[in-house]
């Protein structure tokens, strides 16, 4: 997947979880959960959806590498084939 495709996929899932918040309104370097006001249950839903779409395990031990939008996108880029 290209960087743009990964980015679109991530935005699509975030906007489904937080339909009231547009990607244009967030700071991609800030804490993802703060920016989208998502709780741990929403975050689990996000990781589950991304893991399914990209066939990635996305282990809990890696959650620290998924703090901001940019971090998570970078993580997907490194791990998605």
């Amino acid at each position: 997947m290209t960087n743009d495709q990964l980015r679109d996929l991530l935005i699509k899932h975030l906007e489904r979880i937080a339909p009231d918040i547009s990607f244009d309104d967030i700071d991609p370097a800030a804490d993802l959960r703060e920016e989208y006001d998502i709780d741990s249950m929403d975050f689990m839903t996000l990781i589950t959806a991304l893991g399914k779409d990209l066939s990635l395990p996305m282990p809990e031990a890696d959650y620290d590498q998924m703090r901001s939008f940019d971090d998570l996108l970078g993580y997907l880029r490194r791990h998605a084939s």
Partner: protein
């Protein structure tokens, strides 16, 4: 022949609007089937039927707001349509009176009914067959939520197309100052009643989460994302088991007496993105393994966030848990949701200095509080209840 009435989904509910007729007249229904959806101050509620039989007819057109207790449909026990006391056979449908009839071309519109809940409304004329099939209004969850918040009448849009968020005027667009939303009014009514009627007392303590978090991390390490557990599921089980052991915190106080719950239906305070919160029940929270409980929790949260839950989930929680998750503050002291008699609040975990074996160590802890009804229990029992929850959290593998 039984009347199916607009249910009461809590002390604060006065009326509801029939927004979906899921079962068509003549169709069989079974106990537990969802046959209709009702719009309330809290969102769309799916309504279950409590007996086996056949749906004879709808008594209330789509979009009509009626008081709690109003018959909205007739359920009959057998397939036999023509009982002597039932004049209308199902098949030949009399032509509806012209002024109330939907246009044949555009089978829209439940007749616009005035807002004020009169006494029991006149049963409407039988719908023509094509309306019975296509008359279900299709509304996206987001649109339904906004309509509920702004008081917009969904019925005015008819049933011709799928109604999306764009079809509902935003509250901000309207010039006049918005009064309290229906959601805030419902919360206000319930919490005012609580503060007025329930003599609350409050207790608090600290939970050391080290063992619980280790247990979750170990469980989740080799699990795919959708099989992982959240810390919240341990809170749920711990509170449910403690409430089972100490029944003075689990049940309803009504008509001057306390009725203990037969099971623990744990109300989960869930915040809505659009503002406000609801606390639907996770039924029988002491049963099943943690994985099953987690799946049920995820299902409940997902449905609530879509503005969709079931009648029983709103009407029968026996105790409430409000947990701030990982992005809140240190602690929360809840307000009891009547007619319940207790609410447990759990704050956000944080690293704190703790004294263990005479040394100070950093530990992940959180605050736990109990607000309980002094008419039913007192601080001595409350402390035992709270300690039981804390103890369960120290033995996560036994949950």
């Amino acid at each position: 022949m039984t009347d199916f009435v607009m249910p009461s989904l809590g002390a604060d509910m006065e009326d509801g609007t029939l927004v979906e007729q899921i079962v068509a007249p003549g169709d069989p229904v079974h106990r537990g089937d969802i046959i209709a959806a009702v719009e309330t101050q809290k969102g769309a509620i799916e309504i279950e039927v409590f007996e086996d039989g056949f749906l004879d007819k709808w008594l209330v057109p789509l979009g009509t707001k009626v008081p709690v207790g109003t018959p909205i449909a007739v359920i009959r026990a057998s397939a036999e349509p023509g009982k002597p006391d039932m004049p209308q056979p199902a098949a030949p449908v009399p032509a509806p009176p012209p002024q109330e009839a939907p246009q044949p071309v555009d089978p829209v519109a439940p007749p616009a009914t005035p807002e004020e809940p009169g006494p029991v409304p006149e049963p409407p004329p039988e719908m023509p067959p094509q309306m019975a099939q296509s008359g279900r209004q299709r509304v996206s969850p987001a649109a339904r939520r906004r309509a509920a918040q702004t008081g917009f009448d969904l019925a005015s849009l008819g049933t011709g197309k799928i109604i999306s968020l764009d079809d509902i005027p935003d509250a901000k667009d309207s010039a006049q100052v918005e009064p309290l939303s229906a959601m805030r009014q419902a919360i206000s009514a319930a919490m005012t009643r609580s503060k007025r009627e329930i003599p609350h007392y409050y207790l608090s303590d600290t939970i050391d989460l080290t063992l619980a978090e280790d247990f979750i991390a170990a469980h989740n390490a080799d699990q795919p994302p959708d099989a992982r557990l959240a810390l919240g599921v341990l809170y749920i089980r711990a509170v449910a088991l403690a409430a089972q052991k100490y029944p003075d915190f689990n049940g309803h106080f009504e008509d001057g007496q306390f009725i203990p719950g037969k099971a623990v239906h744990l109300g989960m305070a869930i915040n809505l993105r659009s503002g406000g919160l609801v606390a639907p029940a996770l039924h029988d929270a002491t049963t099943g393994d943690l994985e099953t409980l987690m799946a049920r929790l995820k299902d409940l949260v997902a449905r609530v966030r879509q503005g969709r839950f079931r009648a029983r989930e709103l009407s029968d929680p026996t105790i409430t848990l409000t947990s701030l998750g990982d992005r809140g503050v240190a602690g929360i002291t809840g307000v009891i949701f009547p007619p319940q008699v207790a609410i447990v609040g759990i704050g956000t975990p944080s690293l704190q200095p703790a004294v263990i074996d005479d040394t100070v160590q950093p530990r992940r802890t959180t605050q736990i509080t109990l607000a309980a009804d002094h008419r039913v229990s007192d601080g001595h029992q409350g402390a035992k209840f709270l300690r039981a929850i804390i103890k369960h959290m120290q033995n996560p593998e036994q949950l």
